[in-house]
Symmetry: C2
Subunit: 146 residues, 2 copies
DNA sequence: GCTTGACCTAGAGTGAACTCTAGATCGTAG
DNA sequence: CTACGATCTAGAGTTCACTCTAGGTCAAGC
């Protein structure tokens, strides 16, 4: 139970077996996965946890090359903690940036959707949608509150 | 001033001129941009606002094909507001999902970074980093609070 | 022993979203 | 009139992160 096959790890992490082999090839894992006598991969609990961390990193937009860099630092052992910290902080900063951009987008989309909802429930007779420069277009392009 | 060149629009939207032409080719703009007598694009204020909206959509992960769909609905004129609303709501839902996933990642990264920061300021003599199964590795793979 | 399904490697293919190139044209400044 | 920088089109190239293929190996059940 500390020795999972690639298929089991695929189920547990949500990555395809192809992706798991790809991650290993690309050096995203700390060292390489151990093998059975027949040459099949046997993943340890640590491996699986690490892969889950990689999935997290990827989900938040961290590029593969940077995860590899981090994995290399971890593989190198103690002594480079400052560098790991820097990497983490950099990713944290980027993520915060990204989050605020996305929140802005959400605000815009919500504003537009709410206006549409209002219009749809009010029926097509609404005066908003007639006239020379239809407010429809203003609504489309103009509503950018943030 | 209601008639900008592609270079000016590039400056104002942050998209490259290549990307602007690409967006038009791909049908992301409502109709097509008007042209000068010599065949150069002349962007109206509406065009620019619309492009900014497209940038927002792209920033929040909306695929190009879906933006095209939305643009087609807008180009088709009134009568399909429900469908536009559905598209917007779908994007809103996906965005909320994405936001919560990213917030989770941020939590994980912060937790790891804070532990590292603690270690780094405490100096390498910390007992955390010695022993048979170094806590270093536990820290790497195990810290997944969310 | 045979079948079957999960696994192996190396390497080619895919889709998305640009990005760049080549070769031509436009239009303004000198 | 000429030079030059911005623009034009069509289409090829790039990057990223996988995903798939071909041709073979391993191991459990019948």
């Amino acid at each position: 139970m500390d020795e999972l096959t690639i298929g089991q790890v695929s189920e547990r992490t949500g990555l395809s077996v192809h992706a798991l082999r790809y991650y290993e090839r690309e050096g995203l894992l700390v060292g390489s996965v151990s093998r059975s006598s027949g040459g099949r991969r046997r993943y340890s609990t640590f491996d699986v946890d690490w892969i889950r961390l990689c999935v997290r990193f990827r989900e938040c937009g961290m590029p593969v090359t940077e995860i590899r860099h981090y994995a290399e630092l971890v593989a190198a052992g103690t002594g480079n903690e400052e560098e790991r910290l820097q990497l983490l902080r950099a990713q944290e900063a980027r993520l915060k940036h990204e989050l605020s951009r996305m929140t802005e987008c959400l605000t815009v989309i919500r504003a537009k959707a709410d206006l549409y909802a209002q219009h749809v429930t009010a029926g097509t007779a609404g005066s908003l949608w007639t006239g020379e420069t239809p407010a429809c277009l203003a609504l489309e392009a103009g509503v950018q509150p943030v």
